[in-house]
Amino acid sequence: MDFLNRILGAFGKRIVRAVSGVGDFFLFVASAWGWMLRPPYRFSVLFRQMEFIGVKSIGIIMLVGTFSGAVFSLQTGYAFGLFNAETLVGATVGIALARELAPVFTGLMVVARAGSAMAAELGSMVVTEQVDALHTMAVNPVQYLVVPRLVAAVLMLPLLNAIFLAMGILGSYFVGVYLLNIPEGPFMTQLEYYLDGSDIVQGLIKASIFGFVLVAISTYQGMMTHGGAEGVGRSTTRAVVISSVSILVLDYFLTTWILEFFPKF
Protein backbone atom coordinates (compact mmCIF):
# COMPACT_ATOMS: atom_id res chain seq x y z
CA MET A 1 0.00 0.00 0.00
CA ASP A 2 2.82 2.31 0.94
CA PHE A 3 4.58 1.41 -2.29
CA LEU A 4 1.49 2.20 -4.32
CA ASN A 5 1.13 5.47 -2.46
CA ARG A 6 4.66 6.45 -3.33
CA ILE A 7 4.22 5.68 -7.00
CA LEU A 8 0.98 7.62 -7.16
CA GLY A 9 2.56 10.46 -5.21
CA ALA A 10 5.51 10.71 -7.57
CA PHE A 11 3.21 10.53 -10.57
CA GLY A 12 0.97 13.23 -9.12
CA LYS A 13 3.93 15.46 -8.39
CA ARG A 14 5.04 15.23 -12.02
CA ILE A 15 1.60 16.16 -13.25
CA VAL A 16 1.38 19.10 -10.88
CA ARG A 17 4.81 20.29 -11.99
CA ALA A 18 3.90 19.97 -15.66
CA VAL A 19 0.60 21.82 -15.26
CA SER A 20 2.12 24.61 -13.17
CA GLY A 21 4.92 24.90 -15.75
CA VAL A 22 2.35 25.44 -18.49
CA GLY A 23 0.59 27.97 -16.26
CA ASP A 24 3.85 29.86 -15.68
CA PHE A 25 4.44 29.91 -19.42
CA PHE A 26 1.05 31.46 -20.14
CA LEU A 27 1.57 34.05 -17.40
CA PHE A 28 4.91 34.85 -19.02
CA VAL A 29 3.25 35.31 -22.41
CA ALA A 30 0.54 37.49 -20.85
CA SER A 31 3.13 39.70 -19.18
CA ALA A 32 4.98 40.01 -22.50
CA TRP A 33 1.72 41.22 -24.12
CA GLY A 34 1.30 43.74 -21.33
CA TRP A 35 4.84 45.09 -21.65
CA MET A 36 4.57 45.21 -25.44
CA LEU A 37 2.02 48.01 -25.27
CA ARG A 38 3.77 50.06 -22.61
CA PRO A 39 6.38 52.70 -23.43
CA PRO A 40 9.29 53.12 -23.82
CA TYR A 41 9.45 51.52 -27.26
CA ARG A 42 13.04 50.62 -27.92
CA PHE A 43 13.24 50.68 -31.71
CA SER A 44 16.98 50.24 -31.95
CA VAL A 45 16.74 46.99 -29.97
CA LEU A 46 13.84 45.88 -32.19
CA PHE A 47 15.79 46.59 -35.38
CA ARG A 48 18.77 44.67 -34.08
CA GLN A 49 16.52 41.66 -33.41
CA MET A 50 14.85 41.99 -36.82
CA GLU A 51 18.28 41.86 -38.37
CA PHE A 52 19.26 38.84 -36.30
CA ILE A 53 16.06 36.84 -36.81
CA GLY A 54 15.24 38.01 -40.32
CA VAL A 55 18.10 39.33 -42.40
CA LYS A 56 20.68 36.87 -41.12
CA SER A 57 18.37 33.91 -41.78
CA ILE A 58 17.83 34.77 -45.45
CA GLY A 59 20.77 32.73 -46.75
CA ILE A 60 19.80 29.50 -45.07
CA ILE A 61 16.13 29.99 -45.90
CA MET A 62 16.98 30.41 -49.59
CA LEU A 63 19.11 27.29 -49.56
CA VAL A 64 16.59 25.13 -47.73
CA GLY A 65 13.71 26.56 -49.78
CA THR A 66 15.36 25.79 -53.10
CA PHE A 67 16.15 22.20 -52.21
CA SER A 68 12.77 21.53 -50.60
CA GLY A 69 11.02 22.63 -53.77
CA ALA A 70 13.49 20.70 -55.89
CA VAL A 71 13.19 17.36 -54.09
CA PHE A 72 9.42 17.60 -53.80
CA SER A 73 9.27 18.24 -57.51
CA LEU A 74 11.48 15.24 -58.20
CA GLN A 75 9.30 12.89 -56.14
CA THR A 76 5.95 14.10 -57.43
CA GLY A 77 7.37 14.24 -60.96
CA TYR A 78 8.05 10.50 -61.01
CA ALA A 79 4.82 9.65 -59.21
CA PHE A 80 2.61 11.82 -61.42
CA GLY A 81 4.42 10.44 -64.44
CA LEU A 82 2.77 7.09 -63.73
CA PHE A 83 -0.54 8.50 -64.84
CA ASN A 84 0.66 11.20 -67.21
CA ALA A 85 -0.09 14.12 -64.91
CA GLU A 86 3.43 15.65 -64.83
CA THR A 87 2.09 19.07 -65.75
CA LEU A 88 0.46 19.23 -62.31
CA VAL A 89 3.82 19.05 -60.55
CA GLY A 90 4.22 22.82 -60.37
CA ALA A 91 0.74 23.38 -58.96
CA THR A 92 1.07 20.58 -56.40
CA VAL A 93 4.46 21.69 -55.19
CA GLY A 94 3.35 25.33 -55.17
CA ILE A 95 0.28 24.69 -53.04
CA ALA A 96 2.10 22.35 -50.66
CA LEU A 97 4.88 24.88 -50.23
CA ALA A 98 2.59 27.85 -49.76
CA ARG A 99 0.28 26.20 -47.28
CA GLU A 100 2.51 23.87 -45.31
CA LEU A 101 6.12 23.39 -46.20
CA ALA A 102 7.22 27.00 -46.32
CA PRO A 103 5.78 28.09 -42.94
CA VAL A 104 6.73 24.89 -41.12
CA PHE A 105 10.25 24.68 -42.50
CA THR A 106 10.79 28.40 -42.04
CA GLY A 107 9.68 28.04 -38.42
CA LEU A 108 11.94 25.06 -37.83
CA MET A 109 14.94 26.77 -39.43
CA VAL A 110 14.42 29.86 -37.29
CA VAL A 111 14.11 27.66 -34.20
CA ALA A 112 17.42 26.06 -35.06
CA ARG A 113 19.16 29.32 -35.86
CA ALA A 114 17.60 31.98 -33.67
CA GLY A 115 15.49 30.18 -31.04
CA SER A 116 18.47 28.22 -29.76
CA ALA A 117 20.62 31.36 -29.72
CA MET A 118 17.94 33.27 -27.78
CA ALA A 119 17.59 30.60 -25.12
CA ALA A 120 21.36 30.39 -24.73
CA GLU A 121 21.87 34.16 -24.65
CA LEU A 122 19.07 34.87 -22.19
CA GLY A 123 20.07 31.83 -20.15
CA SER A 124 23.63 33.05 -19.74
CA MET A 125 22.33 36.51 -18.94
CA VAL A 126 20.31 34.98 -16.12
CA VAL A 127 23.17 32.94 -14.66
CA THR A 128 25.65 35.83 -14.85
CA GLU A 129 23.16 38.11 -13.04
CA GLN A 130 22.73 40.40 -16.05
CA VAL A 131 18.97 39.97 -15.74
CA ASP A 132 19.17 40.91 -12.04
CA ALA A 133 21.23 43.92 -13.10
CA LEU A 134 18.41 44.99 -15.43
CA HIS A 135 16.00 44.75 -12.50
CA THR A 136 18.23 46.85 -10.29
CA MET A 137 18.43 49.47 -13.03
CA ALA A 138 14.63 49.58 -13.01
CA VAL A 139 14.36 48.08 -16.50
CA ASN A 140 11.91 45.23 -16.90
CA PRO A 141 13.75 42.26 -18.48
CA VAL A 142 10.62 40.98 -20.22
CA GLN A 143 10.13 44.34 -21.86
CA TYR A 144 13.78 44.82 -22.73
CA LEU A 145 14.72 41.28 -23.76
CA VAL A 146 11.57 39.39 -24.71
CA VAL A 147 9.26 41.93 -26.33
CA PRO A 148 11.65 43.05 -29.12
CA ARG A 149 12.37 39.44 -30.03
CA LEU A 150 8.66 38.58 -30.16
CA VAL A 151 7.77 41.56 -32.32
CA ALA A 152 10.76 40.98 -34.60
CA ALA A 153 9.77 37.35 -35.15
CA VAL A 154 6.13 38.16 -35.85
CA LEU A 155 7.23 40.70 -38.46
CA MET A 156 10.11 38.79 -40.04
CA LEU A 157 8.80 35.23 -40.24
CA PRO A 158 6.23 36.03 -42.99
CA LEU A 159 9.00 37.66 -44.97
CA LEU A 160 11.25 34.62 -44.62
CA ASN A 161 8.26 32.47 -45.50
CA ALA A 162 7.78 34.43 -48.73
CA ILE A 163 11.43 33.99 -49.63
CA PHE A 164 11.24 30.27 -48.87
CA LEU A 165 8.18 29.94 -51.10
CA ALA A 166 9.71 31.88 -53.99
CA MET A 167 12.92 29.86 -53.87
CA GLY A 168 10.99 26.61 -53.50
CA ILE A 169 8.96 27.29 -56.62
CA LEU A 170 12.14 28.24 -58.45
CA GLY A 171 13.74 24.97 -57.37
CA SER A 172 10.68 23.08 -58.43
CA TYR A 173 10.68 24.84 -61.80
CA PHE A 174 14.27 23.92 -62.52
CA VAL A 175 13.82 20.27 -61.62
CA GLY A 176 10.46 20.01 -63.35
CA VAL A 177 11.26 21.84 -66.57
CA TYR A 178 14.95 21.11 -67.08
CA LEU A 179 15.43 17.72 -65.39
CA LEU A 180 12.09 16.00 -65.85
CA ASN A 181 11.40 17.74 -69.16
CA ILE A 182 7.89 18.80 -68.23
CA PRO A 183 6.80 21.38 -70.83
CA GLU A 184 7.17 24.86 -69.41
CA GLY A 185 3.84 26.24 -70.63
CA PRO A 186 1.48 23.74 -68.95
CA PHE A 187 3.72 23.66 -65.86
CA MET A 188 3.31 27.39 -65.36
CA THR A 189 -0.35 27.59 -66.41
CA GLN A 190 -1.34 24.89 -63.94
CA LEU A 191 0.69 26.55 -61.22
CA GLU A 192 -0.96 29.90 -61.80
CA TYR A 193 -4.40 28.33 -62.09
CA TYR A 194 -4.28 26.36 -58.84
CA LEU A 195 -2.13 28.49 -56.57
CA ASP A 196 -4.30 31.28 -55.12
CA GLY A 197 -3.47 34.33 -53.12
CA SER A 198 -5.33 32.78 -50.23
CA ASP A 199 -2.91 29.83 -50.18
CA ILE A 200 -0.05 32.23 -49.80
CA VAL A 201 -1.84 34.35 -47.21
CA GLN A 202 -2.59 31.42 -44.95
CA GLY A 203 1.06 30.41 -45.11
CA LEU A 204 2.10 33.89 -44.10
CA ILE A 205 -0.35 33.91 -41.19
CA LYS A 206 0.97 30.56 -40.04
CA ALA A 207 4.56 31.72 -40.26
CA SER A 208 3.79 34.77 -38.17
CA ILE A 209 2.08 32.67 -35.48
CA PHE A 210 4.95 30.16 -35.51
CA GLY A 211 7.33 33.07 -35.03
CA PHE A 212 5.46 34.24 -31.96
CA VAL A 213 5.26 30.75 -30.49
CA LEU A 214 8.87 29.80 -31.07
CA VAL A 215 10.21 33.04 -29.60
CA ALA A 216 7.84 32.85 -26.62
CA ILE A 217 9.01 29.30 -25.86
CA SER A 218 12.70 30.00 -26.46
CA THR A 219 12.81 33.19 -24.41
CA TYR A 220 10.77 31.56 -21.62
CA GLN A 221 13.25 28.70 -21.46
CA GLY A 222 16.10 31.20 -21.41
CA MET A 223 14.57 33.29 -18.64
CA MET A 224 13.83 30.20 -16.51
CA THR A 225 17.46 29.02 -16.65
CA HIS A 226 19.14 28.06 -13.42
CA GLY A 227 22.27 26.16 -12.58
CA GLY A 228 25.21 27.60 -14.50
CA ALA A 229 26.56 26.41 -17.84
CA GLU A 230 24.75 23.09 -17.58
CA GLY A 231 21.49 24.95 -17.04
CA VAL A 232 22.10 27.04 -20.15
CA GLY A 233 22.64 23.87 -22.16
CA ARG A 234 19.47 22.35 -20.77
CA SER A 235 17.44 25.46 -21.58
CA THR A 236 18.76 25.57 -25.12
CA THR A 237 17.92 21.92 -25.75
CA ARG A 238 14.45 22.38 -24.30
CA ALA A 239 13.86 25.53 -26.33
CA VAL A 240 14.67 23.74 -29.58
CA VAL A 241 12.75 20.55 -28.80
CA ILE A 242 9.62 22.19 -27.38
CA SER A 243 9.50 24.88 -30.09
CA SER A 244 9.88 22.36 -32.92
CA VAL A 245 7.27 19.99 -31.53
CA SER A 246 4.91 22.88 -30.80
CA ILE A 247 5.20 24.17 -34.36
CA LEU A 248 4.32 20.77 -35.81
CA VAL A 249 1.41 20.16 -33.41
CA LEU A 250 0.11 23.69 -33.70
CA ASP A 251 0.31 23.43 -37.48
CA TYR A 252 -2.32 20.70 -37.47
CA PHE A 253 -4.76 22.72 -35.36
CA LEU A 254 -4.09 25.93 -37.26
CA THR A 255 -4.74 24.09 -40.50
CA THR A 256 -8.12 22.77 -39.36
CA TRP A 257 -9.00 26.27 -38.25
CA ILE A 258 -7.75 27.92 -41.43
CA LEU A 259 -9.62 25.42 -43.65
CA GLU A 260 -12.84 26.66 -42.05
CA PHE A 261 -12.06 30.21 -43.08
CA PHE A 262 -10.48 29.58 -46.46
CA PRO A 263 -12.42 26.65 -47.92
CA LYS A 264 -10.55 25.60 -51.00
CA PHE A 265 -12.29 22.87 -52.87
Binding site: E129, D132, T136
Partner: protein, 254 residues
Protein backbone atom coordinates in the same frame (compact mmCIF):
# COMPACT_ATOMS: atom_id res chain seq x y z
CA UNK B 1 4.09 52.08 9.93
CA UNK B 2 7.35 52.37 11.78
CA UNK B 3 9.60 55.31 10.98
CA UNK B 4 13.28 55.52 11.64
CA UNK B 5 15.32 58.64 11.47
CA UNK B 6 18.94 57.63 11.30
CA UNK B 7 18.68 54.22 9.69
CA UNK B 8 18.21 54.22 5.95
CA UNK B 9 17.46 50.53 5.76
CA UNK B 10 16.00 48.30 8.42
CA UNK B 11 15.21 44.59 8.22
CA UNK B 12 12.68 43.19 10.66
CA UNK B 13 12.50 39.41 11.16
CA UNK B 14 13.15 38.59 7.51
CA UNK B 15 12.62 34.94 6.61
CA UNK B 16 13.42 33.35 3.26
CA UNK B 17 13.45 29.75 2.12
CA UNK B 18 14.15 28.15 -1.22
CA UNK B 19 12.15 24.94 -1.35
CA UNK B 20 12.96 23.16 1.87
CA UNK B 21 16.18 25.08 2.42
CA UNK B 22 15.91 27.87 4.97
CA UNK B 23 18.34 30.63 4.06
CA UNK B 24 17.26 33.57 6.19
CA UNK B 25 15.70 32.72 9.53
CA UNK B 26 14.58 35.97 11.11
CA UNK B 27 17.19 38.55 10.17
CA UNK B 28 17.05 41.81 12.13
CA UNK B 29 19.45 44.47 10.91
CA UNK B 30 19.63 48.22 10.62
CA UNK B 31 21.86 50.02 8.16
CA UNK B 32 22.76 53.58 9.13
CA UNK B 33 22.82 56.28 6.45
CA UNK B 34 25.98 57.87 5.13
CA UNK B 35 28.32 55.11 6.22
CA UNK B 36 29.67 51.73 5.17
CA UNK B 37 28.04 48.64 6.63
CA UNK B 38 29.74 45.32 5.95
CA UNK B 39 27.80 42.08 6.22
CA UNK B 40 30.21 39.26 6.98
CA UNK B 41 29.50 35.60 6.61
CA UNK B 42 30.80 32.32 5.27
CA UNK B 43 30.34 31.44 1.63
CA UNK B 44 26.88 30.11 0.98
CA UNK B 45 25.34 31.62 4.12
CA UNK B 46 22.88 33.65 2.09
CA UNK B 47 24.66 37.01 2.12
CA UNK B 48 23.76 37.71 -1.50
CA UNK B 49 20.22 36.59 -0.79
CA UNK B 50 20.09 39.12 2.03
CA UNK B 51 21.46 41.86 -0.22
CA UNK B 52 18.87 41.09 -2.90
CA UNK B 53 16.11 41.66 -0.35
CA UNK B 54 17.23 45.26 0.17
CA UNK B 55 16.43 46.18 -3.41
CA UNK B 56 13.40 43.94 -3.89
CA UNK B 57 15.07 41.43 -6.23
CA UNK B 58 13.87 38.79 -3.78
CA UNK B 59 10.77 39.02 -1.63
CA UNK B 60 10.83 37.96 2.00
CA UNK B 61 8.55 35.03 2.88
CA UNK B 62 7.96 36.73 6.18
CA UNK B 63 9.11 39.96 7.81
CA UNK B 64 9.63 43.48 6.54
CA UNK B 65 12.30 45.52 4.81
CA UNK B 66 12.11 49.27 5.42
CA UNK B 67 13.90 51.69 3.13
CA UNK B 68 13.71 55.24 4.44
CA UNK B 69 10.93 54.12 6.74
CA UNK B 70 8.75 52.56 4.05
CA UNK B 71 8.12 48.83 3.90
CA UNK B 72 9.12 47.59 0.45
CA UNK B 73 7.96 43.97 0.80
CA UNK B 74 4.40 44.53 -0.43
CA UNK B 75 5.49 46.80 -3.32
CA UNK B 76 4.45 46.05 -6.88
CA UNK B 77 6.76 46.36 -9.90
CA UNK B 78 6.00 50.03 -10.46
CA UNK B 79 6.87 51.18 -6.93
CA UNK B 80 9.89 48.90 -6.91
CA UNK B 81 11.17 50.56 -10.07
CA UNK B 82 10.82 53.95 -8.41
CA UNK B 83 12.63 52.64 -5.34
CA UNK B 84 15.45 51.10 -7.34
CA UNK B 85 16.42 54.44 -8.84
CA UNK B 86 17.80 55.35 -5.42
CA UNK B 87 20.06 52.30 -5.52
CA UNK B 88 23.17 51.27 -7.37
CA UNK B 89 24.34 47.69 -7.22
CA UNK B 90 27.70 46.19 -8.02
CA UNK B 91 27.36 42.48 -8.77
CA UNK B 92 29.94 39.87 -7.92
CA UNK B 93 31.30 39.58 -11.44
CA UNK B 94 30.16 42.97 -12.63
CA UNK B 95 27.12 41.57 -14.49
CA UNK B 96 28.01 43.76 -17.47
CA UNK B 97 25.80 43.32 -20.52
CA UNK B 98 28.07 41.35 -22.79
CA UNK B 99 26.35 42.46 -25.96
CA UNK B 100 27.23 46.09 -25.20
CA UNK B 101 30.66 47.68 -24.98
CA UNK B 102 31.97 49.44 -21.88
CA UNK B 103 30.68 52.86 -22.90
CA UNK B 104 27.20 51.53 -23.70
CA UNK B 105 27.12 49.62 -20.42
CA UNK B 106 27.78 52.72 -18.35
CA UNK B 107 25.47 54.79 -20.55
CA UNK B 108 22.65 52.24 -20.25
CA UNK B 109 20.98 53.54 -17.04
CA UNK B 110 21.43 57.11 -18.27
CA UNK B 111 19.72 56.37 -21.57
CA UNK B 112 16.90 54.56 -19.78
CA UNK B 113 16.22 56.96 -16.95
CA UNK B 114 17.55 60.42 -17.66
CA UNK B 115 16.65 63.04 -20.20
CA UNK B 116 20.25 63.91 -20.90
CA UNK B 117 21.33 64.66 -24.45
CA UNK B 118 23.80 62.47 -26.26
CA UNK B 119 26.74 64.73 -25.50
CA UNK B 120 25.76 65.07 -21.84
CA UNK B 121 25.56 61.28 -21.55
CA UNK B 122 28.99 60.99 -23.12
CA UNK B 123 30.37 63.51 -20.65
CA UNK B 124 28.81 61.71 -17.68
CA UNK B 125 30.08 58.31 -18.80
CA UNK B 126 33.63 59.59 -19.17
CA UNK B 127 33.36 61.26 -15.79
CA UNK B 128 32.08 58.09 -14.06
CA UNK B 129 34.72 55.95 -15.71
CA UNK B 130 37.38 58.40 -14.56
CA UNK B 131 35.97 58.17 -11.04
CA UNK B 132 36.72 54.43 -10.99
CA UNK B 133 40.13 55.02 -12.54
CA UNK B 134 39.42 53.98 -16.10
CA UNK B 135 39.88 55.80 -19.36
CA UNK B 136 40.11 54.89 -23.04
CA UNK B 137 38.30 51.59 -22.52
CA UNK B 138 34.89 52.71 -23.81
CA UNK B 139 35.10 50.70 -27.02
CA UNK B 140 36.15 47.45 -25.36
CA UNK B 141 33.69 44.60 -24.90
CA UNK B 142 33.25 43.10 -21.40
CA UNK B 143 34.81 39.82 -22.55
CA UNK B 144 38.08 41.66 -23.23
CA UNK B 145 38.36 42.99 -19.67
CA UNK B 146 40.06 41.47 -16.63
CA UNK B 147 38.01 40.62 -13.55
CA UNK B 148 39.13 43.74 -11.72
CA UNK B 149 38.34 45.99 -14.65
CA UNK B 150 34.93 44.42 -15.04
CA UNK B 151 34.16 45.28 -11.43
CA UNK B 152 35.28 48.84 -11.99
CA UNK B 153 33.06 49.20 -15.03
CA UNK B 154 30.23 47.60 -13.04
CA UNK B 155 30.79 50.19 -10.34
CA UNK B 156 30.85 53.03 -12.87
CA UNK B 157 27.51 51.76 -14.18
CA UNK B 158 26.13 51.44 -10.64
CA UNK B 159 26.95 55.07 -9.85
CA UNK B 160 25.94 56.44 -13.25
CA UNK B 161 22.67 57.84 -11.93
CA UNK B 162 24.29 59.07 -8.70
CA UNK B 163 22.44 56.71 -6.37
CA UNK B 164 22.06 57.38 -2.65
CA UNK B 165 22.65 53.79 -1.63
CA UNK B 166 25.26 51.50 -3.20
CA UNK B 167 25.19 47.74 -2.67
CA UNK B 168 28.39 45.77 -3.22
CA UNK B 169 28.16 41.99 -3.66
CA UNK B 170 31.56 40.56 -2.74
CA UNK B 171 33.53 43.35 -4.38
CA UNK B 172 36.95 41.84 -3.69
CA UNK B 173 36.30 38.12 -4.18
CA UNK B 174 38.61 36.57 -6.74
CA UNK B 175 40.95 39.56 -7.00
CA UNK B 176 44.67 39.60 -6.30
CA UNK B 177 45.87 41.50 -3.18
CA UNK B 178 46.79 44.64 -5.12
CA UNK B 179 43.50 44.73 -6.96
CA UNK B 180 41.67 44.02 -3.69
CA UNK B 181 43.34 47.01 -2.11
CA UNK B 182 42.53 49.24 -5.04
CA UNK B 183 38.86 48.16 -5.05
CA UNK B 184 38.68 48.82 -1.30
CA UNK B 185 40.15 52.26 -1.80
CA UNK B 186 37.63 52.81 -4.53
CA UNK B 187 34.75 51.99 -2.16
CA UNK B 188 36.16 54.33 0.49
CA UNK B 189 36.65 57.03 -2.12
CA UNK B 190 33.08 56.65 -3.39
CA UNK B 191 31.97 57.01 0.19
CA UNK B 192 33.95 60.19 0.72
CA UNK B 193 33.16 61.80 -2.63
CA UNK B 194 29.52 60.88 -3.01
CA UNK B 195 28.41 60.72 0.64
CA UNK B 196 26.37 57.63 -0.04
CA UNK B 197 25.14 54.80 2.13
CA UNK B 198 27.07 51.65 1.31
CA UNK B 199 26.31 48.03 2.07
CA UNK B 200 29.14 45.59 1.40
CA UNK B 201 28.86 41.82 1.41
CA UNK B 202 32.13 40.11 2.17
CA UNK B 203 33.92 37.16 3.69
CA UNK B 204 37.28 38.90 3.56
CA UNK B 205 38.15 39.95 7.12
CA UNK B 206 41.01 42.27 6.27
CA UNK B 207 38.94 44.26 3.79
CA UNK B 208 36.05 44.35 6.22
CA UNK B 209 38.05 46.10 8.92
CA UNK B 210 39.54 48.43 6.34
CA UNK B 211 36.12 49.53 5.13
CA UNK B 212 33.48 49.16 7.77
CA UNK B 213 31.81 51.74 9.96
CA UNK B 214 29.57 48.93 11.08
CA UNK B 215 29.93 45.16 10.82
CA UNK B 216 27.19 42.55 11.01
CA UNK B 217 27.79 38.83 10.95
CA UNK B 218 25.32 36.51 9.24
CA UNK B 219 25.31 32.89 10.39
CA UNK B 220 22.64 30.19 10.25
CA UNK B 221 20.18 32.65 8.79
CA UNK B 222 20.50 35.17 11.59
CA UNK B 223 22.62 38.19 12.46
CA UNK B 224 24.63 36.81 15.37
CA UNK B 225 26.78 39.85 16.08
CA UNK B 226 26.82 43.47 15.00
CA UNK B 227 28.51 46.70 15.93
CA UNK B 228 31.33 49.06 15.04
CA UNK B 229 34.66 47.38 14.18
CA UNK B 230 36.27 48.10 17.58
CA UNK B 231 33.58 46.31 19.56
CA UNK B 232 33.16 43.65 16.89
CA UNK B 233 36.81 42.70 17.30
CA UNK B 234 36.30 42.09 21.01
CA UNK B 235 33.35 39.78 20.53
CA UNK B 236 32.80 36.90 22.90
CA UNK B 237 30.60 34.99 20.45
CA UNK B 238 32.40 31.69 19.86
CA UNK B 239 31.57 31.39 16.15
CA UNK B 240 32.49 35.01 15.37
CA UNK B 241 35.77 34.56 17.22
CA UNK B 242 36.52 31.44 15.24
CA UNK B 243 35.62 33.21 12.00
CA UNK B 244 37.83 36.21 12.75
CA UNK B 245 40.75 33.97 13.62
CA UNK B 246 40.13 31.76 10.62
CA UNK B 247 40.13 28.56 12.68
CA UNK B 248 38.07 25.58 11.63
CA UNK B 249 39.35 23.43 14.53
CA UNK B 250 39.61 20.45 12.22
CA UNK B 251 35.88 20.30 11.98
CA UNK B 252 34.82 19.56 8.49
CA UNK B 253 32.23 22.21 7.89
CA UNK B 254 30.31 21.81 4.70
Amino acid sequence: MEKTTKDRIRLVKVHKSFGTQKVLDGVDLSIPGGSITVILGRSGEGKSVLLKHLIGLLKADQGQVFVDGIDITPMGPHDLNELRRRFGMLFQNGALFDSLNVFENVAFPLKEHSRLSRSEIEKTVIEKLALVGLKDVGKKMPAELSGGMRKRVGLARAIALSPEIILYDEPTTGLDPLMTDSVNNLILEMQKKLKVTSVVISHDIESTFQLADKIAMLHDGKIIEEGPPETFKKTQHPFVKKFLEGRSENEVIL
